[in-house]
């Protein structure tokens, strides 16, 4: 082995590439992004590379910073809701809901039951839409283009449904403090049921086309393994944490709204199809969660109280001026735990301080650990599996 000028590249068990060499080489600095097809927006990764092997990667953020938290201090409470849409623009409903839960906790108001079911339904629809984007773009990262368009074709129906309910396609401002903006249209539940029936076979098709594909499995299985304890130390949440085998879902572990009444599973990889904690597990959790969301939506349709005498804005306060205090509320977003910390001085209609704990930002912070000793294609697979939305990372 030890002849002059030889390089030996091998993979350890946990898929970290090790290079042994007795040859003077230099590392190359490779700036991945902010304009790069697979960084999902304006993320910049500064990688030191040795050949194709990334020895270290440092994420640089802030290219999409829009001062969300500072905005909140000059806009009154209901006016912040449309800004939360723009954090994680793929899951507007969930963001609004998390914020409204926080303010409602601060105001201590009772929410009508039908409103709760409407909120669960629209946010689960939005969760499916978000996971469709995550799965589709993950396919693109790994070179499969067709699943992406199938995902977007189906997401289109969800956007149409949400547009019908709320009036907007992505930035809804539908969930209001104490209620929802409008009641859902008369035929909405019927159409949602039709969507569920339409979508079930499409999930199976997507599963066959992408998830089960041997090349896809080979590209993701065993790549970017995150052990459960490290994931918890990094404060991961959502599908990322569940991908590492921790059964942690705020809808179950810190239940809010009507989730305790609904019957659904929290999918966690069992290590048969994927190695627990790898990219494939995270992808799998998202794929399975879509089906769970479909179950939740079906239950919502059957359990939702009727619309007789229902005013969606009955509990909406005329003027939001909470008494002095602070609150932290969190909700299970498609990308993990989205928490809002709000401080009120008791006098103003504007929050004194509003801090958002964004799941993408926290999940991304493990990038440095995950990327060590990976090949560039694996790095792309890992970024894709984290499923970042730069709008939420930078806010």
């Amino acid at each position: 082995m030890a002849e002059q000028g030889s390089i030996r590249v091998s993979r350890k068990d946990d898929n970290v590439v090790v290079i042994e060499k007795d040859l003077a080489t230099e590392e190359m600095l490779l700036s991945m992004g902010p304009q790069h097809p697979s960084t999902h927006g304006v993320l910049k990764l500064e990688c030191m590379t040795d050949g194709e092997v990334v020895t270290s990667a440092e994420p640089y953020l802030g290219y999409l910073h829009r001062c969300f938290e500072k905005h909140c201090e000059v806009v009154d409470y209901p006016g912040i809701v449309p800004y939360t849409d723009r954090m994680d623009y793929l899951t507007g409903m969930n963001n609004e809901w998390a914020y409204c839960i926080a303010v409602e906790k601060l105001l201590d108001i009772e929410i009508p039951r039908r409103v709760e079911f409407i909120r669960v339904m629209v946010s689960e629809l939005n969760r499916i839409a978000s996971h469709l984007v995550a799965i589709g773009t993950y396919g693109i990262d790994l070179g499969a283009f067709t699943p992406f368009l199938f995902c977007f074709r189906d997401r289109e129906h969800i956007l149409n449904l949400l547009e019908w309910a709320s009036g907007a396609r992505m930035l809804y401002n539908y969930v209001w403090i104490g209620g929802v903006a409008f009641d859902i249209p008369a035929d909405f539940n019927k159409r949602v049921k039709e969507f569920v029936d339409y979508f079930r076979p499409k999930v199976v098709e997507l599963y066959k086309l992408l998830t089960e594909n041997e090349i896809f499995v080979k590209r993701t299985k065993g790549i970017g393994i995150m052990p459960a304890d490290v994931a918890i130390n990094y404060a991961w949440s959502g599908p990322m944490l569940r991908g590492s085998g921790v059964k942690w879902d705020l809808r179950r572990n810190d239940p809010y709204s009507v989730y305790p009444e609904l019957d659904f599973n929290v999918p966690v990889p069992d290590g048969k199809f994927s190695d627990v904690g790898d990219c494939l597990s995270r992808h799998l959790v998202r794929a399975l969660e879509m089906e769970e969301s479909l179950n939740i939506i079906e239950q919502c349709i059957s359990k939702m109280p009727g619309s007789e005498g229902f005013n969606p804005r009955s509990a909406v306060p005329k003027r939001v001026r909470p008494k002095a205090g602070e609150v932290y509320a969190r909700a299970e977003n498609p990308r993990g735990e989205l928490g809002f910390y709000i401080q009120s001085d008791g006098k103003s209609t504007k929050p004194l301080r509003c801090k958002a704990r964004s799941s993408c930002f926290v999940n991304l912070s493990a990038m440095k650990d995950l990327s060590k000793g990976q090949l560039i294609p694996d790095l792309v697979a890992i970024i894709g599996s984290i499923d970042i939305v730069l709008g939420e990372v930078d806010r």
Partner: protein
Amino acid sequence: MSEYFSNIKAGAVTIATGMGITLKHFFNAIHRKGDAGIDDADYFRQVDGLCTLQYPREAVPTPVNARYRLYNDIEDCIGCGQCERACPIGCIAIETIKVLPEDLAVCGKTSGGQQKKFWVPVFDIDVAKCMTCGICVSVCPTECLVHTPVSDFSEFDRQNMIYHFGNLSRLEAEAKRRKVAEQQAQAAREKQAAAAKAAEEKNGQ
């Protein structure tokens, strides 16, 4: 060794499955999805085959409650300015002139029968800034400010994105303003005169 062959087999089988799916879609390309909107009862019965619509000629209709372009029915607007205050980004600019008592009949009532107390010479909405959140619509007391389902209103010049809803011409507004100013000046003068008179009387006592 068996793993080696099972890998090859799994690869071949899953690739064949995937190719079967894409081929099925390829042959299904003779069908095209229709352009029924989501509020159409047949919406999910038409989804099959190619789903692209050629936008300017074919489009999925936006539902009636869709919130896109803001429209203000100025005949019903009472110039209360609540929308201006509620807008989180400040894309609405309103200027009002008080209606003089003798002009109240000319100014008229809203369709709801409410007496309008302000002329609204300037009601500008910068729809380029508007984020269609709908907060202004929710606070409007006369429901004259609405989001319309018109989603396509691009312009070549940014100035054209500022929509003017004010119903007074500049000359009219100027005249009204002068009239109000005159009356105010008159009132001030009278007040001053009254004050002076009162002071005189006070001094005279």
